[in-house]
């Protein structure tokens, strides 16, 4: 297929030049009806904010330019089929899970799942079987999945329908996908991969294997992250064993019928850019992050980790485009470094948690931006560094699942003080952001570990959310 094409962008260009009189929505009518909007976003942007019509195709049942764009994307990503998504990678993750498991069916997954995976369990009624992603005690981060742990979980749950994985993790850690796929397929389980942080794997050399290349059945890629498309756009990829028509039905259960053509065109244009220039783009990103890692490690105390942490099991591979930095020896939590960088140095990084922070490096960065980051880290160490006493390293909370998330979420509940809730079964989830992973989820018993972690994360400046009570002082527990 000709990856130089961008059919959706081309159709919008045609719409612009044909000067069709719009007696359809959106009501701003190419911006004319809302001059402030046009002034703010620019004429070119509002002109292509159009509605579905034959020349622009229909996202719910594509037959024209969207179909072509999806076929181009499938080829570019090495998938059998691709679905353009406008509800973020959250919608892609939810479509995967709702496709693979229904009420009462089991799905194997690591505990450090994104909240989008948890919410899809509430929607579908599936039963999660959590696998402990091993944790690196020194770095204080969750790792990939050990093959032996997966094998044990599969043996203990031969009735499970699917296995769900994060690959790569936020910090760039990859599991042995190929072996996991072989194992899962041997037991008739689908492999679903949350590849939100790995869009670039399909377009670069010297990086870990993409889910599609590893033979996974479905993968959710956040093209708006490393792929450069507009925020909220995403692509769902499927392999050859998956019926695309049924996937489309599942997607249409929750997808908007007024998909934004700004998002769709951005996916189309970004796919073209990645297919044509990806190798060069990510070579430059790897050069920048390699340089930054070396400079940050020369400062001392900070540890910008790289491929040396690979252990061929729970860290099967490492995505070197990720600039992940451990801060525990500086005496500062990752989230504290995040706050200092933003507050005092005018540098916004992607996120920080207890022991680490992540600076997102992309094609949009220049060497001099890297110099600013490295120099700021040096200055922060000099002016704010402390003795590393009392830093909590690990963040894995062992979940005790009593009910499925759906049963608990819709069950009879009462409110009580979070601090008094030890031993109760939670009816909602509590998340610390960062990293946005549930500390406990609906249907789980509230443990001392979880309560201690929430208190500590709160003290370090993480934002706590997920409960009906906006301050997360109270939690709903099952009656």
């Amino acid at each position: 297929m000709n990856q130089n094409l961008a059919p959706i962008a081309g159709a919008l260009e045609k719409l612009r030049t044909h000067r069709i009189v719009p007696f359809d929505v959106p009501g701003h009518k190419r911006g004319k009806g809302n001059p402030d909007l046009t002034a703010f976003f620019g004429q070119r942007a509002v002109e292509v904010d159009a509605n579905s019509m034959p020349m622009l195709d229909f996202l719910g049942s594509p037959v024209g330019v969207i179909k072509e764009a999806e076929e181009l994307a499938a080829t570019a990503f090495g998938a059998s089929a691709a679905f353009l998504m406008v509800g973020g990678t959250t919608s892609s993750v939810q479509a995967m899970i709702m496709f693979a498991v229904k009420r009462g069916e089991k799905i194997l997954m690591p505990r450090n799942i994104h909240k989008s995976a948890l919410s899809s369990l509430i929607l579908s009624g599936a039963e999660p079987v959590y696998i402990d992603p091993s944790t690196d005690k020194n770095l204080g981060i969750s790792l990939g999945m050990k093959l032996a742990d997966i094998e044990a979980a599969i043996t203990a749950n031969t009735d499970a329908k699917a296995i769900f994985l994060n690959n790569p993790t936020y910090y760039g850690i990859c599991s042995d996908l190929q072996s996991i796929v072989r194992l899962a397929h041997a037991h008739n389980m689908l492999v679903l991969v949350d590849e939100a942080h790995g869009t670039h794997f399909s377009f670069s050399e010297g990086l870990p294997m993409s889910a599609m290349d590893a033979g996974a059945d479905m993968s959710a890629v956040s093209v708006h992250k490393s792929g450069g498309s507009l925020t909220q756009s995403s692509i769902l990829l499927t392999g050859k064993g998956v019926n695309p028509s049924h996937v489309r039905q599942i997607i249409n259960l929750t997808q908007t019928t007024s998909a934004s053509y700004l998002l769709l065109a951005s996916l189309d244009i970004s796919r073209r850019h990645l297919a044509l220039n990806g190798k060069e783009i990510f070579r430059k990103v790897i050069d920048l992050t390699t340089y930054a890692r070396s400079e940050i490690n020369q400062i001392g105390k900070y540890y910008a980790f790289g491929k040396e942490i690979i252990n061929h099991d729970s860290i099967f591979d490492f995505d070197t485009t990720k600039l992940s930095v451990n801060t525990l020896k500086t005496g500062l939590a990752g989230i504290e470094v995040y706050d200092i960088l933003r507050g005092d140095y005018e540098i916004q990084i992607e996120y920080g948690d207890i022991g680490n922070f992540l600076a997102y490096v992309s094609i949009g960065d220049e060497k001099r931006d890297i110099e600013r980051l490295c120099s700021s880290l040096k200055d922060i160490l000099r002016t704010r560094g402390k003795s590393p006493m009392g830093m909590m390293g690990s963040e894995y909370i062992h979940p005790q699942v009593v009910l499925t998330p759906q049963e608990a979420f819709y069950g009879e509940k009462r409110a009580m003080q979070l601090t008094d809730s030890l031993g109760e079964i939670s009816g909602e989830s509590v998340m610390c952001y960062p990293p946005g992973i549930p500390v406990f989820a609906p249907g789980e018993r509230i443990t001392k570990e979880a309560l201690d972690y929430i208190a500590y994360a709160r003290e370090k400046g993480c934002s706590i959310s997920g409960t009906q009570d906006p301050d997360v002082k109270e939690v709903l527990v099952l009656k």
Partner: protein
């Protein structure tokens, strides 16, 4: 035929200089570099469309960034110069026999090469044996130094483009770390007239005040810079720019300077009221 160079000072104000001939144009990895010969100002160096110096008024800028700190501490031996690819700072500092070592860090080799060829009056001291020239990012260079320099001169472009990193908290913090206890950092802070310049000058001065216990601004008039009235930053770990100045000792160097003299030393720190207000009263 008339040949003019227009510098955009604001959206509504520009400075036009009539040219005699074009000498050099190049696009480096970092910026566009132009050198022209003008009728009124002699040769002029332009980076990304902004006048960096002219042969006619460069002495003001170079005097004020070199002799002011040298008069506060005439014992300065080891100097770090950031930017200054035209060689003007080195030319002035090389006049002090007591300076033993100069490191100059300029990011853009094209500027140095073009100035050596076309601005020899300014660049001629770049072959001084005490000088070590590094072509790299000043922000990176200073990060690796500790307790080393008696004087750091930051001769940067404006805080947009390649010079941006030299107006940041992290840069000033790392300069503090790179300085000896008796060290002085001076830098160009920007103009006090146009709103755009004022904002970046205020932000930079605020960051210097945050990084150093002693921080002052001082002034000079550079006719080709936007608005004319220009500020410099003076920052130390302890030394006061006037009370600790050793003007008599400086006199003994016997330097013939075009702009600086010991009588204007204190005056340079005496700022007009509207400028004091811009600095939130934070001067002297």
């Amino acid at each position: 035929m008339e040949l003019w160079f227009s510098e955009i000072h604001t959206q509504n104000v520009r400075l036009d200089i009539k040219l005699n001939r074009h000498l050099f144009s190049g696009q480096s990895e970092y910026q566009r570099v132009d050198i022209y010969e003008s009728l009124e100002y002699g040769r002029i160096l332009i980076l990304d469309g902004f006048t960096m110096l002219t042969e006619k008024d460069e002495f003001v800028y170079h005097d004020m960034l070199s002799h002011v700190p040298m008069a506060v501490n005439p014992n300065i031996e080891k100097v770090l110069i950031i930017g200054a690819g035209d060689g003007g700072m080195v030319r002035e500092l090389a006049r002090y026999p007591t300076i033993k070592h100069m490191d100059m860090v300029e990011i853009d080799k094209m500027v140095v090469d073009a100035c050596i060829e076309h601005l020899p009056q300014i660049a001629h001291a770049l072959n001084d044996p005490r000088l070590n020239l590094y072509f790299e990012d000043g922000l990176k260079f200073v990060r690796t130094k500790q307790n080393e320099y008696d004087l750091i001169v930051v001769d940067s472009t404006d805080p947009f483009g390649p010079g941006e990193g030299l107006f940041t908290k992290e840069f000033y913090g790392n300069c503090y770390n790179a300085m000896t206890d008796a060290g002085i950092m001076v830098n160009q802070l920007g103009g006090t007239f146009y709103a755009h310049d004022i904002l970046s000058m205020q932000r930079a001065f605020g960051k210097i005040k945050g990084a150093f216990p002693v921080a002052y601004a001082y002034q000079a008039n550079v006719s080709t810079y936007p608005g004319g009235h220009w500020l410099f930053g003076f920052a130390t770990k302890a030394a006061h720019p006037i009370r600790d100045a050793q003007l008599d000792k400086w006199q003994k160097f016997g330097l013939d300077t075009q702009y600086y003299n010991t009588k204007l030393h204190a005056g340079a720190f005496a700022l007009p009221n509207h400028v004091l207000k811009l600095l939130e009263g934070g001067n002297v």
